[in-house]
Amino acid sequence: MSLDRALAPLVIVVGGGGVGKTTLAAALGLRSAEEGADTLVMTFDPSLRLKDALGVGAEARDNEVRVAADTPGRLDASLLDAGATFDRLIERYSKDRAARERILGNRYYRHLSGGLSGILEYMAVERLFEVASGERYERIFLDTPPTHQALDFLEAPDRIVDFLDSGALKLALKEWFDDSGRLKPAARFGRLGRRFEAYLDDFVGLELLRDMADFFQAFAPLFEGFRARAHQVGELLASRETLFVMVAGPGEEEIPDLLFFARKLAERGYRIGPILVNRVHPRVAGSGSGSSAPDPEDGRSLLAWLGERDHAGLQALEGLLEPDQTLIGLPLLADAPTDLASLSELGRVLGARLG
C-alpha cells in the first residue's frame, strides 16, 4: 500500500489538457503525506487550479505553503510564477547590484520573463531543482502543463543552453553594435550593409535590437552559472530519483499523443512509471454492448455507450504498450474532488492501485 515502492522522490505528472493531472498530483501528494512523507505538490498552471483543490490561495505563488491537512507527514503546495523565479535567478547570479539592476530594468527582459513560453517551462524545471536540492521534502510531485507544452518543458534545459550558447552570446559580445549603438560594419554584410541597417531599422526598429543586445551583454556573466544549472537539471530529470507518471483521458483519440510522449521520454532515458487512464466510464455487464444506437435523452444509455467506448480505448492502448509498462484505469468520479476529504479518498484508491 505504500507509494515508496511504486514511486520515486521526484514524481513528474505529465499528460494532455483536461485529463485531471492536477487533481491526481494533489491526491498523490496528500496520500504521500498521509503515509508519513514530507511532501510538496508543485503546479505551474496559470489558472491556479491546485489552490482550489488544496485550499491554498495566492500566498502559494512562488512559495511553499502548508496545506491544512492533518497528516503524519507535512504537506505543502506551491504555485510556480515564472517571472518571479527568473528574477530570483538573476539576483543570485548577478555579481553586484548594478549588474542586477541593469538586467531587471531592461525593456527586453521585462517582456521576456513575462511572455516567453519556453522560459516558463524552463523556470518550472529550475524551481523543481531549487526545491529538490533544498532537501526539505522526502517527495515532490510536479504537475506540468499539457503534453505538447510538457515536451517544451522537457527540452527546456537543452534549449536554454542552445539559446544562450549560440548567436545570442555573440550579441552579448557586442559583435553587432559599437559603443555608440550603431551596427558594426561586420553586421552590415559588406556591400549590402547600409541597406541592411536601414532595412532592419525600418522592419523592427534598431531600438529593439539594441535592447536585446544590451540584455544579452548584461546576461553574459550569468551565463556560466546558468549553463551549469541547466546541465544539472537535465541530469536530475534522467536520474533514478525521478519518475514520470503519465495521465490520459480514456478516449481512443488520446492514444497517439500518449504513445508519442512515452517514446520521447524513453528516448531521453527518463524513467516512465505507471500510466494512469483517468475518468474511465464504468462498463456495466448486460447494458447492451453497442447493439442499438444510444438514446441521447437517456443518461443511462449514454453512459453505457461511453463505458463501451472507454473499454475499447483501454484495450487498444493495452495492446500497444511495452510489456513492462503498467496501465491503471481510474473510474470517472461523480464529481471532481474539490476538497481534502475527497482528495484523500481518491489518493487512497490510487495508492492501493499503485502499491
Binding site: T22, L116, V204, G205, E253, P282, A293
Partner: protein, 294 residues
C-alpha cells in the same frame, strides 16, 4: 448578440484543454459556411482538426473541406518570413536577411511576436493579401488553451510596445485594432459544466476584461448530460447519471450568476470524434446561434 457573432470577421475559440474546443471551432466554421466563406485556422503543431472533417492534414497549406470552407494549420514562422520576402522584392537580399542570425534571433526571441503573427495572418487572409489563400469572409481561429489563448489575444498590444515601425509595426497596430473591436472580432469560450473548467472560464473572462478591456461574446457549454426529469430507476448507471447531471446543473447555476454574456448549451452526443460529431454539434449550435435568445 449571438446573431451578430455570425457576422464577425474573426472568431477566436478558446477554453480549457479537453473541453472540445477544436470540435466547437469546427462546428462554428461549418455553421457559418452555409452563408459566408470561412477559413478554420489551427495553430497546434500536432494537427488534429482535419480529422474532424475527414480531410487530409494541412501541413501548412490550405485544404478545401466543403464549399466555402477551408482549413489551414499555420506555422507562425511562415508569416514573418513572408513579410520579409514581400518587403524585399529582391530574392537574394531576402534570403540574406532570412538566413542572418540577427533575424532568426529576432523572430524566435521577441516576446509575443509569433502569436501576433498568427493574428496578422488571419487579417491578411481576410484582406486577400496572403499568398495562395482562398477568399474568406470569416476566419475561425482554434486558439491555444485558456492561458495561452489570452496571451495570443494580448500579443498585439505587447508587441506594439516594442515594435513601432515598419511592416511589423503597422501590422501589429492593425491587428490590435481588429482584436479590440467587438464588431469585427468575436471571442468564444468553450467549457464543460464541471467545477474546474467553469472556474477557468470565469478566470478567462476576468483576464480578458483586464488585459483587453472587452468581454467574450459567447460561452459554449459542451457535453451536458440530459436532464433526469421524471426518469426513475436504480442501479449504477442511473445513480451516475443523476449525480453527473446534478454537477452540470450546479455549474450552470453558477454561470447564471457569474457569466452575464450569451451562452449556448450543447448536449453530450454519443458520437465518435469525427465528421458525425461536427455535424451533430453544428446542428445543436445552429439553433443557439441563429435561433435568437440562447
Amino acid at each position: 448578440m449571438s446573431r451578430s457573432l455570425l457576422d464577425r470577421q474573426l472568431i477566436v475559440v478558446t477554453g480549457k484543454g479537453g473541453v472540445g474546443k477544436s470540435a466547437i471551432a469546427a462546428a462554428i466554421g461549418s455553421v457559418i459556411a452555409s452563408r459566408r466563406r470561412v477559413l478554420v485556422l489551427e495553430v497546434d503543431p500536432r494537427e488534429n482538426v482535419h480529422q474532424l472533417f475527414g480531410a487530409p492534414p494541412s501541413g501548412g497549406e490550405f485544404v478545401e473541406l466543403a464549399p466555402r470552407l477551408h482549413l489551414q494549420n499555420l506555422r507562425p514562422g511562415q508569416v514573418l518570413d513572408q513579410l520579409v520576402r514581400e518587403k524585399l522584392k529582391l530574392e537574394r537580399l531576402a534570403r540574406r536577411v532570412l538566413e542572418s542570425p540577427i533575424y532568426r534571433h529576432f523572430a524566435a526571441g521577441a516576446p509575443g511576436l509569433e502569436e501576433m503573427a498568427v493574428l496578422g495572418h488571419a487579417l491578411r487572409v481576410l484582406r486577400g493579401e496572403a499568398p495562395k489563400a482562398p477568399g474568406a469572409d470569416v476566419v475561425v481561429l482554434d486558439a491555444p488553451a485558456t492561458g495561452h489563448g489570452v496571451s495570443m489575444l494580448a500579443a498585439p498590444t505587447l508587441v506594439s510596445e516594442v515594435i513601432e515601425k515598419g511592416p511589423i509595426g503597422s501590422m501589429t497596430r492593425e491587428v490590435a485594432d481588429l482584436v479590440g473591436d467587438p464588431a469585427r472580432t468575436g471571442i468564444v469560450v468553450v467549457t464543460l459544466a464541471e467545477e474546474m473548467p467553469v472556474t477557468e472560464a470565469l478566470e478567462l473572462r476576468e483576464t480578458l476584461s483586464e488585459r483587453l478591456k472587452r468581454e467574450p461574446d459567447l460561452l459554449v457549454v459542451n457535453g451536458l448530460y440530459p436532464p433526469v426529469a421524471r426518469a426513475t430507476g436504480r442501479g449504477e448507471l442511473f445513480e451516475l447519471w443523476k449525480r453527473r447531471r446534478a454537477v452540470n446543473e450546479r455549474e450552470l447555476g453558477r454561470l447564471d450568476r457569474e457569466w452575464p454574456e450569451a451562452r449556448a448549451e450543447l448536449p453530450l452526443l454519443p458520437l465518435g470524434r469525427g465528421v458525425e460529431l461536427v455535424a451533430g454539434l453544428s446542428d445543436a449550435l445552429r439553433q443557439s446561434l441563429e435561433g435568437g435568445a440562447p
